[in-house]
């Protein structure tokens, strides 16, 4: 299949991005370049200088809401992408509403309590909607420990499933980018196997 055919197919679909930090911003950029139709992006944070070691933002965007900055960056990459942004903190009550109509959702949070919250919420309140989780990406090196696996048709996981980010094991652009792009790769794979969008 040629790229334009792939992009034309992806254009029919809507992907949710839960968190616009290292995973979410890089994953969104990869999906925008690939021709995704709509991105629903949710985050409450602002861009800070220390985010720039791994997140898809620029120095002059410091202080902007991440949802606004990412919308601008996506527009510069591929203006055909429809970006729906929600500047809010996601929780178990608003997730089904924010991501209603999405064909797939990318978990792109930083803290593991939030990761657990969205997995439980999407799996219990949005049955059948695939969720692509990032887990384990801190530090540098060790390419071979990063993997992806499919739990079932509604749950996929990318990362090493063992490293925890902290002051002495910070997340850096390469490994965060690898996992974010693995998540985007799974999203594309899921959508290429779907004939039509789930919402009518």
């Amino acid at each position: 299949m040629r790229f334009l055919q792939i992009a034309a197919h992806l254009n029919k679909f809507r992907a949710g991005i839960a968190g616009a930090g290292g995973l979410g911003s890089n994953c969104a950029a990869a999906l925008a370049r690939s021709g995704i139709g709509t991105l629903v992006i949710a985050d409450f944070d602002v861009v800070e200088p220390e985010n720039l070691n791994r997140q898809y933002y620029f120095t002059d965007q410091s202080g902007m809401y991440k949802t606004d900055a990412l919308r601008d960056n996506i527009r510069r990459i591929n203006p055909a992408v429809n970006v729906i942004s929600h500047n809010l903190k996601l929780d178990e009550n608003n997730i089904p509403e924010v991501f209603a109509g999405c064909d797939v959702i990318v978990e792109a949070f930083d803290r593991n309590e939030m990761k657990q919250m969205i997995v439980e919420t999407v799996q219990s309140k949005m049955p059948g909607i695939p969720l692509v989780v990032g887990s384990g990406l801190a530090g540098y090196g060790n390419n071979e420990t990063i993997r992806s696996r499919k739990i079932d048709d509604t749950l996929y996981i990318c990362g090493d499933e063992s490293t925890t980010a902290g002051d002495d094991l910070p997340p850096l652009a390469p490994r965060v980018g690898i996992v974010a792009n693995m998540q985007a790769n799974i999203v594309i794979d899921i959508l290429m196997q779907k004939k039509s969008a789930s919402r009518s």
Binding site: G22, S135, E161, A165
Partner: protein
Amino acid sequence: MKILLNNREETFEEDSISVSRMIELRKFTFRMRIIKINGVIIPAEKYDTTIIRNGDNVQMLYLMSGG
């Protein structure tokens, strides 16, 4: 009993065990995890009362901070 645990066959001496007991027996000490049994997610507060039986398909994944 025999179960599938992360797609690998595992044998337990008991005929059935709670999720909590399986976590204990297999030393799954890291607390931030997701467990699915036969495709159904089991919330942490139901680990004591949810029973794993012969033939069940148990999936577990760890959630690590960083993103």
